[in-house]
């Protein structure tokens, strides 16, 4: 029974991993990684590491993947979604050869250890193996220094992420000459743009709409030009 579950979960994990590498759209890559992570958590359960399995689902498949989905939605897939297939043949051949070499080396290492001669079921486990109680006790006794260093690292990474991705100087400077408050009070919007004030006053319903005026330019152009000037 364990054997059957192992092959099902391992199959899903490998399919998810292959999907991350092969799929063209980054959003589908993220979804494929979620499948992979959940299958790995189930494999951890088969190895009786309950706490790590739950942490994998909550932290990885939950929090980290939500962060990925947000960034993919924000940045977008890029203008050229077929990054994998537009790579040059030489690069593809080198990469696949490199990965094959790594796999061969790992396979030799695994087969060379004679681990299989130790018996298949592993050590006798204590009743508390893999429970939060055991993990917590280990973290606060034997691995206290690693625990504290990991918490410091998380703090530094959080500060670094805010410093890297945060807006500097506010929205007005960052977004060029887009008006930050395009409201009726500060900068009245042009006529016939469907603002709330127009809707209340019945503009366009009781009065005829004027012809749209573009003043001979696209809306995007001043923003792009300002961006070019910044660079």
């Amino acid at each position: 029974m364990t054997f059957l579950f192992f092959f099902i979960f391992a199959g899903f994990a490998l399919a998810g991993a292959a999907g991350v590498v092969v799929l063209r759209n980054p959003f589908y890559c993220v979804l494929s990684l979620v499948v992979h992570l959940i299958s790995l958590a189930l494999l951890f359960l088969l190895l009786e590491a309950q706490f790590v399995a739950v942490a994998q689902i909550v932290v990885y498949a939950g929090a980290v993947m939500v962060l990925y989905v947000f960034v993919v939605a924000y940045v977008g897939g890029g203008d050229k979604p077929d990054q994998l297939w537009s790579a040059s043949w030489r690069q593809k051949a080198l990469a696949i050869g490199f990965a094959t070499l790594i796999f061969i080396e790992l396979a030799i290492a695994i087969l060379g250890t004679a681990l299989s001669s130790l018996g298949t079921e592993g050590a006798k486990l204590s009743a508390t193996y893999g429970t939060p109680a055991q993990i917590g006790e280990l973290l606060l006794t034997d691995f206290l220094l690693a625990f504290e260093l990991a918490s410091m690292l998380l703090l530094v990474a959080a500060i670094g992420a805010v410093a890297l991705a945060g807006r500097r100087g506010g929205i007005a400077e960052d977004e060029g000459n887009l008006s930050p408050r395009h409201g009726a009070v500060d900068t009245p919007s042009p006529a016939a743009t469907g603002s709330m004030a127009e809707g209340v006053s019945g503009y366009g319903v009781t009065t005829p709409l004027p012809e749209p005026q573009f003043e001979g330019r696209e809306l995007e152009q001043p923003v792009r030009a300002a961006a070019e000037d910044d660079r």
Partner: protein, 99 residues
């Protein structure tokens, strides 16, 4: 259930991740493939921990997860900063790293 099966799956996932890091050009997908490699390491660590009957391998795996979370936060921050400055989100076109 021999540990060799788990190690084999771990080795395949690690190789797939390495291939992805070297083939793909979108930094977001490169980060995803790095996650694959870290998770392959986690699977091997948990497998060793189960065979040894000791909890130390699980602590290693948890620390690896913490480090992966930090890497994701910083990496995604860099990608968002690239996007803000209207630089191309493509590692082949990011040849010069100055200012």
């Amino acid at each position: 259930m021999s540990i060799n099966w788990y190690l084999l799956v771990s080795a395949i996932i690690f190789s797939l991740g390495a291939a992805g890091v070297t083939i793909r050009r979108n930094p977001l997908v490169i980060l995803l493939c790095l996650e694959l490699m870290l998770n392959a390491g986690n699977l091997a660590l948990i497998g060793f921990s189960r065979m040894w009957g000791d909890g130390a391998g699980e602590i290693f795996a948890i620390v690896v997860m913490v480090i992966a979370a930090c890497e994701v936060a910083i990496g995604l921050g860099i990608i968002v900063a690239l996007y803000r400055r209207r630089l191309p989100v493509d590692v082949d076109e990011l040849k010069d790293l100055h200012g």
